[in-house]
Symmetry: C2
Subunit: 354 residues, 2 copies
């Protein structure tokens, strides 16, 4: 079932994007046995028992189990999860894959979403083989490489004048007016079911963690990882959750204090008012977590370090490393800690001839 994160009301598992009270929804199911429920796949299908889809239709561009690389940086162990190695070049494919499978089960063939780029790219890649028509709403500020790829993939692109929040509003209005299903990853509970699989992988790959640092705009990865670890706790695999750190772009903070200067590099998390803010605050509180804001100079420095280590990622991915450096310097992250740093988007984008 779906449960409202604000009032607790439940609904059946359909494409409902919010509770009547205005709260956001999450899928709620009981799980008991982690290792006994793993399926013999070496890709995301390994975790099908924990996903709210039947498995009759699964999109062919199957998300990978991405490597988690341990690199000692100073006195801490950085665990980089290479989640940019997915079919459309970002972790978003986890959420899209589950969403498209569920849309097929529900017989829905036309949808509306809004995105700063990567979520739209992901849906544009996964919807055609499923016969789904996708209207994607983006801002004129979207990176040209992402826009060009979006158009090559045949998405129906709607441009919006205004910031990321305006794009969100226009998409919602359009869906309502046209009577189409709105599947914004900001609200879509099935999207978070997909991103939670990253937590399962990390747990199988490296075991227990001390800290999880996540690039946090709308919170789809933050809450996915949080939900994945919560389910591992429910299944008695872990005794307590790791400390969650929301890493935000300067000037677009929703959890940290708002900075006066904007970080324009981290386009994937430039989301000043995410609808799942309350859930993120609770997750931070529950894990004694905190929020860190990262500026452009820090982002650039971290991006350079990552490139030198062999991780070819987009700037948004780099903020977690910048945040880790800060937290180690202030002593917030103790020596010997095991710190998860998901790398979310590829640095390879777009070429001719596809």
């Amino acid at each position: 079932m779906l449960r409202c994160t604000r009032c607790g009301r439940t609904y059946p598992e359909t494409f409902r994007m919010g509770c009547d009270c205005g709260g956001t929804l999450l899928v709620e199911r009981d799980y008991y046995d982690f290792s006994g429920s793993l399926l013999p796949y070496l890709d995301i299908r390994r975790y099908l028992s924990f996903l709210p889809i039947g498995g009759n239709y699964l999109p062919p561009a199957i998300p990978a189990i991405t490597p988690t690389a341990s690199v000692q940086i100073g006195s801490v162990f950085a665990l980089f999860k290479l989640d940019y190695l997915q079919p459309s070049g970002s972790f978003k494919d986890r959420g899209t894959w589950v969403t498209v499978a569920k849309l097929m089960e529900e017989g829905i063939s036309e949808v509306v979403l809004d995105s700063s780029g990567n979520a739209a790219l992901s849906m544009a890649l996964y919807s055609p083989p499923a016969g789904i028509k996708a209207h994607v709403f983006v801002s004129y500020d979207t990176l040209p490489e992402k826009l060009s790829l979006l158009q090559r993939l045949g998405a129906i692109v709607h441009f919006v004048e205004g910031d990321r929040m305006a794009v969100h509003e226009r998409a919602k209005e359009f869906a309502e007016r046209e009577g189409l299903t709105y599947v914004s990853h900001w609200l879509n509970p099935y999207f978070i079911e997909g991103t939670k699989t990253a937590a399962f992988e990390v747990y199988e790959q490296v075991g227990v963690l001390d800290y999880v640092l996540v690039p946090t705009g709308s919170g789809t990865l933050f809450l996915g990882l949080w939900k994945g670890f919560k389910e591992l706790e429910m299944m008695d695999e872990i005794a307590e959750l790791p400390v969650f750190v929301a890493v935000q772009a300067a000037g677009y903070e929703s959890l940290c204090n708002r900075s006066p200067v904007k970080n324009s590099l981290a386009d994937g998390i430039a989301i000043p008012r995410p609808p799942r803010l309350g859930e993120m605050k609770r997750a931070l509180k529950e894990t004694n977590g905190l929020c860190v804001s990262v500026d452009e100079t820090e982002t650039r420095r971290a991006l350079g370090w990552l490139k030198g280590a062999g991780f070819l990622v987009e700037p948004t991915s780099a903020v977690v490393l910048a945040a880790m450096w800060k937290l180690v310097e202030t002593g917030e992250i103790a020596e010997g800690s095991r710190v998860l740093l998901p790398l979310t988007g590829s640095g390879l984008k777009l070429t001719e001839g596809i």
Copy 2:
């Protein structure tokens, strides 16, 4: 040890690129137990027991176990291996990862290689974290997106006037003149050790196959898959090898008859005289295999189909699907066959800001 594929002479496992008789070398080791030797990783390290490296230094950008997606096309089961989901955007990372680990063990810190693009990109990504200086020789015809990325990654790029064979010759001469280690993937036996892991994954993922179709220029993937399946046969996991089909680009055939018209889309396999030709001929003969040549129109059609299915690959990757269509049409591939189609290179390439 290394063994010459022509005269059988053996050498210790150093960076030797050929036998004194002029033959090419392969690593030869005995393996007995496949499943008992798998390590508890969900990435390429799962197969470390089958690799000629000690594991003291492993490059951080660890290659993934890539998904293998089954799609029924007409009457056959196409098994697409998404091997473009690797850190530098191509399957080449498997070979580079093993090569760089081995270079570190040997204490080698400056190397020379030649490439049509992807192998160079891969080495440019993996060499800096290992402190290895890489001279990459490329043709002026290399795709601009690949060149630009190569330069952003800080590779020392040497441009050569002439075709892919001329690039190879200039690189060899330079290495000899400067006393540097030449690690061309065309000759490097450690590279093939890396690519063979794709066969292990496929075997774990989908079991026994009828056909393996491989984009074939220098043969690093063709021979890697062949060697992987040979080792599975040696370990009594499979009773016989699948039928190998070398898929080549029209105008650049080395195994099929040379076409008069060139396929200029498949830049990754435009290699008219690969040094491991004899080995490939033997593998085809041993498996009752064959060669198929694919032209530009066929490549483009297959590329479009793949994009529509959610596989965002570069044109060289598409030739295997075009070849499968032909072989199904002529009845060469029987109904109900299970056909492996490795997708080798990403369609995402190069962006700003990395």
